[in-house]
Symmetry: D3
Subunit: 264 residues, 6 copies
């Protein structure tokens, strides 16, 4: 690619993937509302509020690929979620439509299906069961991606990210861990497959313990390599086993299922 | 019921159902941003903008049932849809949560699944394929209803309305027509079943020509009685058969699939 | 038929069906451990304890059809259930095998699946979820019928009876009511179809409110005619609406889900 | 329609439908290799061997609808089946493609799925299990229809005819009977729906006893009205109940499952 | 665990697992009706007849985990099966309920589904098809586990054991072999997962040749490591290939499908 | 085996497999209409036109296994396809029936399902969607195999071959590549399993990028070992990425979906 846009580049995941994805394009354009530090040689830094339609339009112009980490990524008051994850997503898709419809990786979340129990084995076309306003907003983003695909042909890889951290840090993450390297390889495939469409992909590594089945995305040729099992002993040593009736043990969304509605 | 709230009471469907549902409660509270005319003896008229959190909170207080027709019901610029169908729905559910969680009939739409082809026979748990920003906003409402049910126990009947008019007026409506009487009977059942949960119900009469299967909602004991077939001759006499490749013939959402994105 | 055996003929259902099924055979042999009153002209009364292998063997001899209502039909201490519904069923199938394998109508029960929620629409091949020791014993009977069919070719109609009474008497029975006439017509079909096999049939009338789908038994040519809806007003007038969280509203098995384990 | 072609017009079914379908077009063109008698006022009689590519091309020219009953309709030596049902079908589709792709009703057969057992409830997308060379040739016709639809947009209604006679004449036909009137109404719908596609439709009346589910074709708006049940007494009086292990009782295809391979 | 109970410890499988599972608890309590030899340092030996309610109650007291191998494990006269596998299972669950509901590993069997053909690929929620009185009794045990879970929250791992021997010894076992080590690892996971529920797990190694899919139990994080393929040559050298029509080749339950009903 | 017949032995695949399969039988009989070169020591060369019933009968006599590569393997005029792939297949099955019904490996093709989109994950029992006359003829062969199995017990392994070449040579083959070695191992298993039946098997290696799921054939114990991924770099270096809207990117059948109907 000539120019890849990564939104939310100052966030936890964004700041890691900024480096991991550097090789994918001549120029990587990074955006956030927060400080992104200094730019590397092939980086462009653009401060941008996703709820600003004109700003997003300019941000997307000239890009031939988008990795959209931007917006709110935890439970927040609705007004914040509406600005970043609803208005922001609309702005992004309108901007993409205006500028040649570059492929989009949309960072969706396991919180779209968080109220499925952990003993449920899910396919990508399962019924959604969001666990929070955040989860509802990610369902909204998936709906938007679907509509722009059906109506305009915009391609999106909807990645329902599990827990993308350096390593799992609690029992539940043994099932949800998504290594940076597996995520990187997935994004590489998304931008190299001959036809993407608008698949829903479980963003999860090849963990022994797992709830999600990526069969429906097998056409991508992406096969995760990492496995949380190597951290089993460490996790079990450092964490008490959660109670069988706690959200950590019961729901796929974990503690998000317990989050209250926050008010501004 | 003591008091039933009907939002969107000045709209096409709302103004009809206002009369049809009068017997369900001692008092019917009606709301809209538009003029609702004069109130009948058991009616309360409340002008209310759904995007006003405080106003909606007051609107819902004291009601033990809600029929939510309010918001935008056709394709509109995103800002209007966001105000009425996204912010408005959030406000409604928060108000309901604050006031005893009265049962809600949520007027969803076939435009949540409009990009399924007409030869597809759908169950309620099918994958959504919205056909418009409007359709996406209705998917959002369904997600919100789901989350408030899983998390707080709020019950909602999600009714994916086909075409609720006095009679069908074009070929496509032979499959999607939903008579006022069948809709009335459905709402009666929703407020009398011992446990509602959060079912998705196809809002459609017992038409010979049909795409939607309500088996998954058979526990409601609702069986539609009307059938568009009695209008077949009239429809075919007054309307040319749409081209096989037109949206009217191809997609369940009909012409909504052709609507552009409107700008303010 | 020359001789039809009806077990459990002194029970509530048995004593009704004794009359309704009289036309099916030249002689009707009735059995129970309890008093069956006086015999009609074409009846033979045989007192028989189902847990007595030899007695059951003699009971079955000479019969070319069996309607098995015998055994325990409510929650009881395990020892009683084991005698009537487990040992008794084994004895019945062994007797049938010894005497030409006459077709059997096995009175199974909705309590084999009682822990499915009432908003679940079930097919005959659904997973069982028994709600009581009684329900577990009926699952056992179904397993026995299946094994004797696979291994020896014994045909059985497994009828998962809902609520077979003169009319429904509470809200839950609006969904589970099985009229005597519909049951009679079903048994007529069972004994006249050219090949029965070992189907599971939901024993339920054509109620507007329903949870069970008999599509998989459509080859029998049995179509129930009665509908609990005609009793709706009466039921709702005489009974308070059960609480949404009660077993009556939540589980298909109703109050059986609340029954404790009884000790002798 | 201006001109409707009916092939196989001298056959049992063809000669009945010739009259029943007369109202569908200004002119009905009839073809067969056998004698078709004298023509009615709006009829054209064309003797035609379906295996003659040029003759079929001329036969189809000028027609805006085709009902294809032609070819072999019982088990025959392969050479005859190949000529009529394989070469003939290819010739028909090539002729249709050359002349504007008029809609086709393809008379397929239950013998495409004859080796399913009678206690199996089938949807239109079930696995085929042909029971004869004839059944295999009808599978071939269905494959051809599918390919011409995917590749060229040719629309076909694939009708898997059960037993289309004036009335059922044996036990098995209680399940498979397809009344002439129901078939006529189906063909009327096929030529009037706005988009046909290439659906598989079970050609069967609304019999109480049945194996086939037409849900997937509900978009046609066709609802059969007749029911073999009115002939039940007559059938059972005139025919002995077939043995449970006979093909009449076991397989959906009935005695075709017993047919040998015929040699020329 | 402080104390793990293993029933059936004198049996073939029990006597192996007694050693393999020793590390799981401070004390391992072993029970059987047969002689269990001498006890190791952390073992308690308890002679116990499973059909003795009081004895079982005492056996279970003080245990915080149960591996239930006890009862009959081959086809036997019904009275023996009823004592060990029916009455015994009831006694075990009642004892567990009385003593804090320790997790149970229930040794179920492939003979619950033995009459599925070997070319059928089964999920855990498949229809059962028991092949023997023994198989029926194991279905009973599964029903009991399900009921105690739904009603009281008792957790059970239902393990449908294939062929758990040191190595496969005939052709059919190439598909059903379950290595001791894989079984051991499964039991370790059962006692360490944060929430078990009541899953059905195929007790089988990672054999190239296989019939059973453990996807629905993937939440356990158990991945079998052994593969019968390493014994292929040996098996084929020492055993004649069974006839294609024999039970060894046809049914998943193998020769159990041929077993007669044994009388006392 | 004593004698294995390989038809189509002069073709691309046939000439490779001739060597690879040599170890399977004492004698390998090879047939084709084209020149097969000189025979190796354990080979018999038989020139044979598959549309010649008598010749095929003689060809099959004395063989105890058949690998049927013969007939047309690309899109051709219908008359050629009818001769080789329709008449020829009938002749082969009749010959097999006459001579002890040796097991048959039938070389079917992905072109039976070519009009499924590449983002569809298919099971073996999926609906066929042939993409060419060639694909239709392979559907015919599958139907024939099914019928001979149901009716006469003839066993066939239906192998839907992807792209069986030395290595993949374009992007689409990354998903469809079927290595010679994996094919060889599959055929070895087909001739050694104790019961074959008539399974449909996807003929494809263990490619990271894939569309087809062989779960339903897991009873064969065949696990492919090769993976196209090792050729990824080479493929991407030598081939331009096909346009997202081209048949190479859209349909599983690739360019066959674009083939016209050829005339003689």
């Amino acid at each position: 690619m000539k120019r890849l846009l990564i939104t939310g580049a100052a966030g936890g995941l964004g700041s890691v993937m900024r480096t991991k994805l550097a090789h994918l394009a001549d120029t990587v354009r990074l955006s956030d509302v927060a400080d992104m530090g200094t730019s590397a040689s092939n980086e462009e830094l653009v401060e941008c509020d996703l709820s600003d339609e004109q700003a997003v339009n300019e941000l997307v112009e000239g890009c031939d690929g988008i990795v959209h980490f931007g917006g709110v990524s935890i439970e927040r008051p609705f007004r914040q979620i509406m600005a970043g994850n609803i208005h922001g997503v609309y702005n992004l898709y309108e901007a993409a439509r205006a500028h040649g419809m570059p492929r989009i990786v949309f960072a969706s979340s396991n919180h779209t299906i968080g109220f499925h129990t952990q003993d449920t084995h899910l396919q990508a076309d399962c019924v959604t069961k969001p666990d929070s306003l955040y989860g509802v907003s990610k369902c909204f983003g998936e709906s938007m991606a679907s509509m722009y695909h059906s109506k305009f042909g915009q391609e999106t890889a909807i990645v329902r990210i599990g827990s993308s951290f350096e390593k799992p840090t609690n029992h539940r993450m043994m099932a949800t861990w998504f290594s940076y390297d597996d995520f990187t390889r997935l994004i590489e495939r998304v931008f190299s497959v001959r036809k993407l469409g608008c698949p829903i992909i479980w963003g999860v590594s090849a963990n022994d313990e797992h709830w999600w089945d990526n069969s429906q995305a097998s056409f991508l040729g992406w096969v995760p390599k990492d496995n949380s099992e190597i951290f089993r002993e460490e996790i079990e040593a450092r964490n008490e086993r959660p109670d069988a009736d706690s959200s950590q043990s019961r729901w796929q969304g974990g503690h998000f299922c317990d989050e209250p509605i926050y008010k501004d």
